[in-house]
Structure formats: C-alpha cells, structure tokens
Amino acid sequence: MKKEWPLWEVFIRGQHGLNHRHVGSLHAPDAEMAIKNARDVYTRRNEGVSIWVVEANNITASSPSDKGPLFEPSNSKVYRHPTFFDIPEEVGHM
C-alpha cells in the first residue's frame, strides 16, 4: 500500500478578535493529526489562539480568468464609498 496523506489548508486566528487567516498547508492523514501538525508547523512562536484545518480538495476557488466578470463591476460603483459625497464643512463631522 502506498498512499500520500491528503493536503490540508491551515487557517490561524492570530489574536482574540481577529479573523482566522490562511497561513499555508500541510499533509496529514486526518483532521485530528492535521490540527496537531498545524500547531507544530505554524505556531512555534505563539502565532495563534485557534486553528482551522480544511482538506484542500473541499475548497472551491474562483478561477483567475473570472477576475474580470467577478470584480470589475464594482469598479464603476464609486458611490459605495463615503468619499463620493461632498458634505459642506459647516455640517461638521459625518
């Protein structure tokens, strides 16, 4: 029998109050071992307070070629940003 351990993507919450953030990947036979390995590989210097692992083949990603159709439409909607609107100074902070 010869079978490579599956690949897991590792997400770490650096501090309380922050999002989990992708830090890298590793191989492990199952989720439990993936957490243990992630602790050894990615948090040797106190980098985290919580770990998520997800088997890499369970992740669905957008394709690089869809970048245009997906993200360009928001470019023209500048009014979504507060700086689009000029508020007279005498109104004060808004």
Binding site: M1, E4, H27, D30
Partner: protein
C-alpha cells in the same frame, strides 16, 4: 546557495517582441512587480525552474537537519540543547513551507522526495561536510545560516506568491539561527585557549564551503539571466558572495578569529573585500556525490523514509477506517 546551480529551461531570455502574447503579458506582470499565483497561466519553463529551485531549497532544509541533529544529544548544557532542538525543528518547518509552495505548481510531495532519494534532485553542497565538534554547531549557525539569509532576504520579493510567502516566514525565523550560532562562537572564542582553538578550527573548515554555497560565478549564465528576468533569482551569485564576505569579516574580527585567506584585503575602490575563490573542483566533486558525507546524509534520509512507511500507511488506514465508520453511522 540552498538552491545551487538551478537550470532554467528554454533558450534564455527572449525580448518582449519575440514572446507569444501570453508570455509577454506574463513578463509584463512580473516587471510590474505583480505576484504570480498557483492557478494562473505561466510559461512551462517558469513552472519547471521553480519546482527545481523550491524543491532543492526544501531538500536543503530537511537534509540540513542532519549535521546539527547530530549534536542535540551532545550539547554542552540543557539550555544549549533546548535551543538547538528548536533550531532543528525550525529547519523541518522551513522544509515543509517550501514543499507546500512547490506542490502548488503541480508536483506531489512523494514525487519530490523520490527525486531527492534517487539523486535526481540535489540539496545544498554545504550539508555534505561533517560537524566534528561543538564549535562546528556555532560555525554552522553563524556562517551557513548567515549565507542562507543573504540569499533568502531578497527572495522574499520573488515573483511567485507561495514561494515569496514561504520566504517571508522563513526569514522571520532565520535570524534566530544565525544569532544562536554567533552566540556559541562568542562563548568559545572568549573561553579557554583550547575553546578558542576549536572556534578557529571550525571557521577554517567552514569558511570555503560557506563561500561555495552561493555557487560558481554566474554573471554570464543564460540560466541565471532567465531566472532573474522571471524574478526567481534576484542577485547574481558573485554579488551575494561579496555581500556575505563584507558582512562576515568584521564579525570574525570581533571574535578575534582569523579568516583563513591570505588574500583577504579591503579594497577601497570597490568598497568591499578582495578574497580568494573557493576550490571549485572540490565543489563539483561534492555536487557529484563525492563529498565527505554525501552517502551518509542521503542514506539517513532514505532510511528514515523507508522505516517510516509502515507508520504513514498505518495512520492512513486508521483514518480511512474512521471515516468509513462515520459514514456507516450516518
């Protein structure tokens, strides 16, 4: 370097006009400083060269554990032992970051390891030299990690996203390695006469092999030119070697140790030291597999891999059984 003499594929650098539209768009992205990410289009040569370079770099981190691991059980104090253990564990981590970066290019971990074990892929020549005594552990941290940092710092800006991110993590951790080595050297150089002699002896033996880490001069190499155009390589080997010498000479002076080179001399004009080239015949012999420890190092890797096979398979079988049981229960 950790990746020495990596050959790029293809005919060398093409001008933008000679490139296909895809290649040109790709090169322009690199020239703009954009990062290339795994699923995006890239020239075949870029992918292949990166697999070779990142793979060789990863192998070096892993094989690099062996000469130092040799001294974990023989460290002079419990503190030194804990520090060395942490350093060697870091090297394992660095190897893993890099393997993962290489795998994003479509090569599997097992494939990379098989190529290391069969001798198809290389690791840095430096790890084929023995660590004979405790002073060598100091010299390895100071010189070998010092030379590695020289190469790795600019690689943080490399064009391939996963490689760049791995290098950023590695560089954050690497300066601890060099400092712990220099700390050992200070202790020995300022210790008894015998300790100082050991420190000098370690410097004598590791100096030229450390200079070899950067690889032979590549200022006229087409491979290097292509890698530099792709921002896989940022500086020439000679530039990095010069920087390393200029940085290290004052550090040796502080220790009261002598660099084993009669031709070492400050050159006011170039603002750097003149120094002797290492023996490149020796370098090519080591690369070919005839260094003092090549067989021992590769032998240890293959043994660890073979001896661990039942364990890897056992854990996998257990995981499969558990997931089958979970499925049946649902």
């Amino acid at each position: 370097m950790y990746a020495q003499m990596v050959k790029s594929t293809g005919k060398g650098v093409q001008s933008l006009e000679d490139m296909s539209p895809e290649e040109r768009a790709f090169q322009e992205r690199i020239d703009r400083g954009e990062k290339i990410e795994p699923k995006e289009w890239m020239p075949d040569g870029y992918r292949k060269t990166l697999v070779r370079q990142i793979g060789q770099h990863a192998h070096s981190e892993i094989v690099g554990q062996l000469p130092e691991g040799n001294w974990i059980t023989r460290a002079p104090t419990l503190e030194r032992k804990a520090i060395l253990l942490a350093k060697v564990q870091d090297e394992a981590g660095h190897g893993l970051y890099l393997y993962c970066a290489a795998e994003t290019l479509g090569v599997s971990r097992d494939e990379l390891l098989e190529k290391l074990h069969s001798g198809d892929m290389k690791y840095s020549s430096i790890f084929n030299y023995p660590t004979l005594n405790w002073a060598d552990i100091g010299a390895v941290g100071w010189l070998v990690d010092g030379a590695a940092i020289m190469n790795q710092v600019p690689l943080q800006r490399t064009s391939y996203g996963p490689y760049s991110r791995a290098m950023i993590r590695i560089c954050k951790e690497e300066s601890f390695h060099q400092r712990q080595g220099y700390d050992i050297m200070m202790k020995m150089a300022f210790g008894t006469e015998e300790q100082k002699d050991m420190a000098q002896d370690a410097l004598n033996r590791f100096w030229y092999p450390s200079l070899m880490m950067f690889g032979p001069s590549d200022k006229d190499s087409v491979h290097s030119a292509q890698s530099m155009a792709w921002k896989i390589k940022i500086n020439t080997n000679d530039e990095l070697r010069q920087k390393f010498v200029d940085q290290t000479v004052p550090q040796a002076k502080y220790l009261g140790l002598t660099i084993p080179d009669e031709n070492l001399k400050w050159n006011e004009e170039k603002g750097g030291y003149d120094f002797s080239e290492p023996d490149w015949t020796e370098f090519f012999e080591v690369i070919k597999g005839n260094g003092p420890c090549n067989k021992e190092r590769l032998g240890a890797r293959v043994k660890a891999w073979d001896d661990g096979a039942w364990f890897r398979d056992g854990l996998m079988a257990h995981a499969e059984k558990q997931s089958a049981a979970k499925l049946a229960a649902e």
